[in-house]
Symmetry: C2
Subunit: 337 residues, 2 copies
């Protein structure tokens, strides 16, 4: 047993609706000694993502359901501080899924070494990590954008939405973003270079889509679901692609999810609605990350970090910021330097 | 002006819910003389299809909305009885979209000559026409079936469903059909060779799908929509394809269409939901029809004709049979020998 104390956030309850403080438990455990093949990492950044809400449910999805009492699942950017695994050396920086805790031990099979000379460590949870890769896989691999097409993304001021807008521009498309509030809409136009923005809090969605997409929608990249998805379906073009990345409007529902009542537009327009998880492209990530890094270095790709200080203990309240609309850019928690 | 009288069914009203007799008007008009380039056909068979309900609405879809007073749109199998068009000779048999009437004049651009030595004329509205081609395009081109996969089709005793089941078997898949009533279920098992049937009138859909698809659903070919689509989504596999051909349960709704509340299964399982219209493959039809004809001749493909006698006047009541569940095989009206 080392004399390092590991502070952790564990899942203590299954929320109905928004997560509440009693759904979490903070524990302190000693870090055990490493066994052969194991790696000990110190987490520097913890990624805070909408998908976490789904991981709290008692239901297997693309990952198994978390058992009550488990350390909360989270993507992490970390430093190797001890290693009995020849693939990792002390001082290596890695990205992984090491949970909401200060330290983690694993066999390294889920760790990816990252190059901090290419970009700072936090970028591996942002443009060179979940946000950039999700946008890349969803827009390029699933959406199949063609130059001149109109790409609409919901949740446009979030980290994935921001990258979708930038990659749409890189691919020669028009980028239209849907976001809530004047601040977010100004951000996606002025900072991210979207061609148009719809503030759904100030304009009916159907009016906004008619105004910004006079030639219809070729690709709708949906992070939000609910009425946003329905409004977009009402304006899709022939052979449109509707990419389902998330449905943040529905994650805290206490009533059944509302399906898209305009789905028969897909029938009459030969459209496609497709879900995806960026984890399915793991083998292609190195190539994708190289391309994302080039775009990032040249300034074509940008998305601010939204970094919360305060360590592990900040997690419960930080997660809620995703659902209150109070987040712009990639949300993460800094837990070590 | 010829002295031939042409009896026609015209659209006289826009139904809410099921079409009623006052939505139709029967007219008799003389057939005009042909002009250069025109063809006069005598319709032998009129195809009666669920899509007709959508064509009655005041809304453009993949075809323009019909104006009130127009001859009702319908697919037809016909004989050329006069021609001023060098591409067509008297005695040629053709398939087209010549409407619910006894005769039709056109420039021939929508007529396709058919070979009645290969199959009887009615087959060009069944296995070698809309039913076979819809199943071919939807299952093979959109569904991309692989040997060993489980294909589930709703409306399995209808003409498209029957062909989907047979083509699934030809492609080495398991075929599971959803139909209403013991007679239809016996038909799809005994006559069509489906591997399993679910009688949704006698078994909860989710139980039936669990019983017949222990390994989940790889392709769901949906003709029905509503709760059938939702139940199927609940059992799809990783990278499943949900092919949207129709939604007959929703066509006569007087309330808004209910969207599939389980659509987020497509997200967590990287599934795809895609609509299609077989008209988009017009250029490939000749090749597809050749293959369908081979399968038909060898007995691999079969779907009985459900032919109503009584001419044009039988149309209004025959259309309702599609929505009452009282139809098995390809529904059409015979209006001439």
């Amino acid at each position: 047993m080392t004399n390092i104390v590991n502070r952790q956030i564990r899942l203590a309850g299954r929320p109905e609706g928004l997560p509440k403080s009693s759904d979490w438990e903070m524990t302190e455990v000693p870090v055990p000694d490493l066994q052969d093949g194991q790696v000990l990492v110190k987490n520097h950044y913890i990624s805070v993502d909408p998908a976490m809400r789904g991981w709290m449910n008692d239901q297997d999805t693309y990952v198994p359901a978390l058992k009550l009492g488990s350390v909360m699942r989270a993507l992490t950017a970390s430093e190797v501080v001890a290693s009995q695994n020849p693939a990792f050396a002390v001082g290596d920086f890695v990205a992984g899924m090491d949970g909401v805790q200060e330290y983690a031990i694993s066999d390294g099979s889920f760790l990816m070494k990252v190059d901090t000379s290419l970009a700072p460590l936090s970028a591996y949870l942002n443009s060179l990590g979940i946000a950039g890769l999700t946008a890349y896989c969803g827009l390029i691999e699933v959406g199949l954008p063609k130059p001149g097409e109109t790409v609409v993304v919901s949740g446009a001021a979030g980290s994935v939405g921001a990258h979708v807008g930038r990659i749409a521009k890189i691919k020669g498309c028009r980028a239209v973003g849907i976001a809530g509030g004047a601040k977010k809409c100004a951000f996606i136009i002025d900072e991210l270079g979207f061609d148009a923005a719809i503030d759904y809090k100030n304009e009916p969605l159907s009016d906004g889509l008619a105004r910004t997409c006079p030639d219809g929608i070729d690709i709708f990249f949906d992070n939000v679901g609910g009425e946003v998805l329905d409004a977009a379906l009402a304006r899709i073009n022939f052979q449109a692609r509707v990419v389902i990345c998330g449905a943040i409007s529905q994650y805290n529902n206490t009533t059944p999810i509302v399906g898209p009542s305009n789905y028969l537009r897909l029938l009459i327009l030969s459209g496609r609605l497709e879900g995806f998880i960026y984890l399915n492209w793991r083998k292609q990530w190195p190539v994708m990350i190289r391309e994302l890094a080039e775009w990032r270095s040249s300034g074509k790709l940008k998305c601010p970090d939204d970094i919360v200080e305060g360590g592990i203990a900040a997690f419960p309240n930080t997660l809620l910021r995703l659902f209150s609309g109070d987040n712009l850019g990639k949300l993460m928690i800094k837990i070590a330097d």
